[in-house]
Amino acid sequence: MFSLSFNKGAFFILLVLSINIFAAECEDLKHKILEQKNTSHENLEKLNKGIQTENLCYKNLMGVMLYEGIYFPKDVNRSEEIFYDLSNKNYPESQFNFALLLTQKTNIAPDKVIPLLFGIYATYLSDNENSHLASKSRILLDQYVVTLRNEKTRRSLSDQEIDAIDIKIHDSLTKYNIDYAAQKQQIVIENRERTDAIMAFIGIGLIAYNLSSIGSTPSPSAGAASSGPNPWFNYGQGFGNPLNLYQFGL
């Protein structure tokens, strides 16, 4: 029984470790290929192995390489397909990438793009691992409005329509943030009240303890100060209590 649960535990730890190692390796490879433009044989081999293991991070990296034309010939449509596929598998970075590509397409209506960006913002705002995507989505929403204004003829949009989109984005985001802040504030208040209640309970306990010890006959340990090398704490011991003062158990 023990060995079975131990094996399960060990398997789980190994699984978590291997996932973390894979993720760290992919991030490292991503940095080498995208930032340093290092497409050495060794790096491509790693990429190939990663893709074969169906790891979403490596597939996403492949999508970025196709979009930017790194090593592979530039293929925007293929990269969009990859990001779309990974988005449906809830891979956060691909969801952002897919939304980013959509903001650049003049034939996609804003009401198809904006909910996607809001979705990313709301989903990853509290997620320590992916929260950077939330702020990027917020910034992208701002930049998208600028893009719409710059490309209004190509996108067949009037100034009034863009103004309306702009106000709608701002109002929605503000409303979301206000609700979010209120919800979090409520939890903070509840936590504080709980802590205060515990402290009050402890305080009442201490007062009750002190009151119960005041009227009773002083026991040898209650009245006596702690023993030790400090003469002030030992005052009264051995020679009685000449001043007949109540002594706190220090």
């Binding site: 996403n60 999508g63 970025v64 979009y67 930017e68 970075e93 952002f96 990438n97 980013l100 990853y124 705002l125 509290s126 997620d127 320590n128 929260s131 950077h132 995507l133 939330a134 702020s135 990027k136 910034i139 992208l140 930049q143 701002h170 503000t174 979301y176 943030n177 206000i178 979010y180 802040a181 209120a182 979090k184 504030q185 939890i187 903070v188 936590n191």
Partner: protein
């Protein structure tokens, strides 16, 4: 002399943290009046500068809206007093900056609506701690 130590410590605690010179200089380029005061406030515990300079005092974010008539509206938020802790990893309970930003933006917008109900100004993030991000271009790229 030794008798003066507690008084000196008390003075230090009460004065809190003053903003570094370059931060003061950069902040006063855009902020003024109450907003500048709020940003440079070094009062222990909840003063913006105190938090920005003391890692244990919480991570503060400052949001600001520039008004057409001059001046502005602002608000601050931090992860110690305004947000519940979650997703702690070991001893690290730091919350994502984005969460603190959301609260700072919400407060700033609410304040803006009260002060200037008809204004078209908008609240934006001015700084994360003492890292001033206002008007800094962000180049978004594929992740």
């Amino acid at each position: 002399m030794k008798k003066l130590y507690p008084i000196l410590i008390l003075i230090l605690l009460l004065t809190g943290c003053a903003a570094p010179g370059h931060i003061k200089e950069e902040a006063s380029k855009l902020l003024s009046g109450e907003c500048l005061e709020l940003f440079l406030n070094g009062t222990p515990n909840q003063g913006y500068q105190y938090q920005a300079q003391s890692p244990a005092a919480g991570n503060p974010v400052f949001a600001f809206a520039k008004l057409e008539r001059g001046g502005g509206v602002c608000a601050k938020a931090d992860d110690l007093w305004d947000l519940p802790k979650h997703n702690c990893k070991g001893f690290n309970c730091d919350l994502p900056w984005e969460e603190i930003e959301a609260v700072a933006l919400a407060r700033c917008e609410v304040h803006l609506k009260k002060v200037e109900p008809n204004s078209s100004a908008r609240c934006k993030i001015y700084a994360r701690g003492n890292n001033i991000v206002w008007d800094k271009d962000v180049q978004l790229k594929l992740q």
